[in-house]
């Protein structure tokens, strides 16, 4: 049983994970990251899980890393820190990950949010990378994923001033895909996750893989990769079922094959 995460029983293929260190505004300590990596590893291998929603509570998605934990590490300690390995496992989760963000989404929390494929944010959410205020810089993709999401000027401003942006600004900048009223944020994320869970799982995983690849390769390589994935899906039963159901005007019945 994880200590810092709550999971809700699987429903319609959607797994809901809740970060649960309310007294620390869900600060991401090493133990929590490890639990999250383990959970996502399991979910990646579990055929019944089709999509995952990750959320915090109404005050905070996650307000950063655990500063006290970090304070005890010297250069060698940071070199041997297991956290980058946990982050890599979270990034490698092959199924759609949807973040529902209320309140503070800062530092490591903002970096975790950027590992999600889709982000639904509450109108009261705040996004920022305040690491510079501690004399450090983001260390889990904050400088890399942010600049790809919002562009150079805003990413530089956020990383260099440490000042957060509000939800409206995050939506304009493309950091999040949708805003909701605070009370409806998780609901809307689950809604999206359910819709995704009804689709062909293999196509979904290929889609995620190809979308992620787009950020890492030049256009020609990305297009070639997309085509390969597209071709690969032609070998699946679900692809035939999807097309047939469309022609016969009925709901497809996907089996993940």
């Amino acid at each position: 049983m994880p200590t810092f995460l709550l999971t809700e029983p699987l429903h319609n293929g959607v797994l809901i994970l809740r970060l649960n260190r309310p007294d620390a505004l869900n600060a991401l300590n090493t133990a929590l990251l490890e639990e999250l990596a383990d959970l996502l590893d399991d979910a990646g291998l579990n055929d019944d899980v089709r999509s995952v929603v990750i959320t915090g509570n109404e005050r905070a998605f996650a307000a950063g890393a655990d500063v006290r934990e970090m304070a005890g590490l010297d250069a060698v300690g940071v070199m041997q820190d297991p956290r980058p390995r946990y982050w890599a496992r979270i990034a490698a989760f092959p199924k759609p990950l949807i973040a529902a963000v209320n309140g503070y989404c800062l530092g490591g929390g903002c970096e975790l949010m950027m590992h999600a494929d889709i982000v639904v944010a509450s109108s009261d959410a705040q996004f920022g990378q305040p690491e510079i205020n501690l004399g450090i810089i983001p260390g889990a993709g904050g400088t890399q994923r942010l600049i790809r999401a919002v562009g150079k000027a805003l990413a530089s401003q956020m990383v260099m001033t440490g000042q957060p942006i509000d939800a409206e600004r995050a939506l304009q900048a493309g950091l999040v895909s949708e805003l909701t009223e605070p009370e409806l944020c998780l609901e809307r994320a689950i809604d999206i996750a359910r819709r995704i869970a009804r689709q062909a799982p293999l196509a979904m995983q290929q889609a995620k893989d190809v979308l992620n690849r787009a950020q890492e390769s030049h256009l020609a390589a990305g297009l070639a990769y997309e085509r390969k994935a597209f071709t690969l899906l032609a070998a699946t039963e679900d692809r035939n079922e999807g097309i047939r159901a469309f022609i016969e005007k009925r709901r497809p019945d996907y089996r993940g094959r």
């Binding site: 909701t180 009223e181 009370e183 409806l184």
Partner: protein, 263 residues
Amino acid sequence: MSYQHIEYRVDQGVAILTFNRPASLNSFNAEMHAEVRDALKSARRDAAVRCLMITGNGRGFCAGQDLSDRNVAPGAERPDLGQSIERNYNPMIRALRDFPAPVVCAVNGVAAGAGANIALACDIVFAARSASFIQAFCKIGLVPDSGGTWTLPRLVGHARATALSMLGDKIGAEQAAQWGMIWSCVEDDALYDSALACARQLATQPTRGLALIKRALNASSTNSLDQQLDLERDLQTLAGRTDDYREGVAAFMEKRQPQFQGN
């Protein structure tokens, strides 16, 4: 926190915040700002509070910033008013606009500068017949703040907002009510009781629903019709889940008075 410059009490579901520096027409200094911040935070956290009422002691409601708190001697460094606004006035206006229950204001006398705009940031404003509103900023080379340039055009229209802001003319309570700048102008000696009766009545109503109404109206000024329709749908979803909605419908069907709990 014990208060020197304001009074604060909660009575029958109504939190009453009274500006209390009558000698300087309840103008704001740094300490008063801190106390108001603290009181608004308490009111917001207090589950017993289902309406907030704001008024002032003495002749004035509030004369805005206490200028004796500001050093503008020649040769002194030029002040950064933006800092004081960011730290003090803006959070107060945001707290009033976001307050999750109705905010009733009883304007007991002159409301000048930020004082006028604090009143206009409230939901339902009563003013004594002898009270007046003055956008005094232009007289000293400043811009209306505390939301004045946003609330005024919406309340009285662009032409009147511009003239009020540029001329700095005093407008009486009666005129303000005729213009729709405030809800109601009442006789001086009836002001406090009228506003309190309204606040007490509101405190018995479906608080959550009222807070959602406020959220919708606040958003309407920047939303398109399409966005507003979406927002109304979402807020109605939330309102429809409240116990008070269920009670309201049940009481209607059973032809009895509803008993709202505010959730």
